[in-house]
């Protein structure tokens, strides 16, 4: 068995790569898939915090690279889903501690053991980005509806295309339908139009995401949250299901009044 390796990347920092990785990892695990999440942000790890697994880490990816322990031994089992495991980044090293080939070897080995391997890429377009996308079968590009984030996403797509790398698909994170309606935020259509790649999901802005990340309880577990539902839908799309996009459009004041009357 060889699972699919999916790298979550963005170019710009702070757009929600680790949040997306954590939530998609759990979303697929909830669908019964076996999943391994690799935190490739060596030196600045935080995927473990988002999953609430920080205090369970014994070994990390550098221990595996230097063959101090096996991959299986370094994996931390998730506390929410038993079929999800995390390969933590090392915190005491930096990105030069691992080469593109070593990352590829580890990702391939992980793919032998799981249906899906997610690699949480560091921000930027330097070495960390390059080793994170090297083994990918698919790159999921996370962007926000902001001009600088979209510009960086465009740059990353250009780099991936030039290198003849894996197909790239888009996740728009932190979309605020109310701001879009007021015409002060980029809408999904114009982002997709500019970047010209396939869209796999739109995640609305939701304070629950922030709270969830702080608590180590990813929002995808929250049945009430619209953002959580978006991540669950993206997870199902990654398994090949066709799921229609939900309407995120906030009702206008007129619609609100009519609803009130009814």
């Amino acid at each position: 068995m060889s699972g699919k390796i999916i790298t979550i990347s963005s170019g710009k920092g702070g757009v929600g790569k680790s949040t997306t990785t954590a939530n998609l990892g759990i979303a697929l695990a909830l669908l019964g898939k076996s999943v391994i999440c690799i935190d490739a942000d060596i030196g600045l790890r935080n995927l473990d915090v988002m999953l609430g697994l920080e205090n369970r880490i014994v070994y990390d990816i550098i221990n595996v690279v230097t063959k101090q322990c096996s991959l299986r031994k370094a994996l931390v089992r998730d506390k929410h889903c038993s079929n999800l495991a995390l390969l933590p980044a090392a915190q005491i090293c930096d990105k030069s501690a691992i080469s593109e080939d070593e990352m590829e070897r580890i990702a391939r080995e992980a793919a032998e053991q799981a249906d899906f391997v997610f690699i949480d890429s560091p921000a930027g377009i330097e070495h960390g980005f390059r080793y994170a996308v090297k083994p990918a079968d698919l790159v999921l590009l996370v962007t926000n509806p902001e001009v600088p984030a979209v510009r960086d996403a465009d740059r990353v797509i250009g780099l991936l295309e030039a290198a003849g790398r894996a197909p790239v698909q888009l996740i728009i994170n932190r979309l605020n339908p109310e701001l879009v309606r007021r015409d002060v935020m980029l809408d999904a259509d114009s982002i997709v139009n500019l970047l010209a790649i396939k869209l796999v999901g739109i995640v609305p802005e939701d304070p629950a995401i922030l709270i969830a990340g702080n608590r180590g309880q990813p929002v995808v577990l929250d049945k009430q949250s619209l953002a959580g539902k978006s991540f669950r839908n993206i997870g199902r799309r990654l398994t090949g299901e066709e799921i229609p996009f939900m309407s995120l459009q906030a009702p206008s004041w007129l619609q609100r009044i009519f609803r009130f009357q009814r």
């Binding site: 001009v147 510009r151 465009d154 740059r155 250009g158």
Partner: protein, 224 residues
């Protein structure tokens, strides 16, 4: 401007036009102006433009030379002045006449030049450079750059930067189905979109040089 000296930046170089025969004052004023300009003029050429009434001796010329070189400029030519001045200038190995600036004209060869056809999207950080004309089927995204020595035709949107006539052809044009660039350049001229304006309704447009500035107007097909 100034009662002692007028300074003009031109494509040929920095033109100095003294308004007085009091060289001490003239050079003092010049020094002040160069000081204020910082390194704005650095690396440029200096042209001293004299009227027949001006006198200029060897010492003054040497002082002027020293002064401009201190600001990393090169004294290139001294024009005008009487015969005696001209002889002195020639002795110093400087020009007394400026070469005529090349008159831009539509080069038959350039008009016939081949075009390169490219079908892709120029994304942020990507640059397409063509030695002749270029036809791009796709968009130039913000942060992308398309450069050609000849004309540019974009069958798509130009949202980044386009530079036609990159080697100096002032007859070069930029045509696009939608022209909303960060910057347009033709030959040595640069223009940018007015700030804070909403993109106009998209219609094909053409940009070309008219009387030393870049104009953009609807492209109704055919050539300019």
């Amino acid at each position: 401007m100034n009662q002692f000296i007028v300074i003009k930046g031109t494509p040929q170089g920095l033109r100095l036009q003294p308004r007085s025969n009091n060289w001490e004052q003239v050079l003092n004023t010049l020094q002040h102006s160069l000081q204020e300009a910082g390194d704005f003029f650095r690396g440029g050429r200096v042209i001293l433009e004299l009227s027949p009434q001006h006198s200029l001796n060897e010492v003054t010329l040497a002082t002027l030379r020293e002064l401009v070189e201190k600001y990393e400029l090169t004294l290139w030519a001294v024009t005008g002045g009487n015969l005696k001045v001209q002889r002195l200038v020639r002795q110093q190995g400087l020009r007394t006449k400026l070469p005529q600036p090349p008159v831009p004209r539509r080069d038959a060869a350039a008009k016939e030049a081949n075009a390169q056809l490219v079908e892709r999207t120029l994304r942020s950080g990507q640059r397409l450079q063509a030695t002749q004309h270029v036809i791009l089927v796709g968009d130039v995204n913000p942060g992308g750059e398309i450069v050609a020595n000849g004309n540019i035709i974009v069958w798509g949107r130009v949202l980044g930067t386009a530079h036609a006539g990159a080697t100096g052809d002032r007859f070069a044009t930029i045509r696009a189905l939608e022209l909303n660039p960060a910057q347009l350049r033709i030959a040595g001229l640069i223009t940018r979109s007015p700030e804070g304006t909403k993109p106009r309704p998209s219609e094909p447009e053409i940009a070309y040089i008219q009387e030393n500035s870049i104009v953009v107007e609807p492209w109704s097909g055919g050539g300019k």
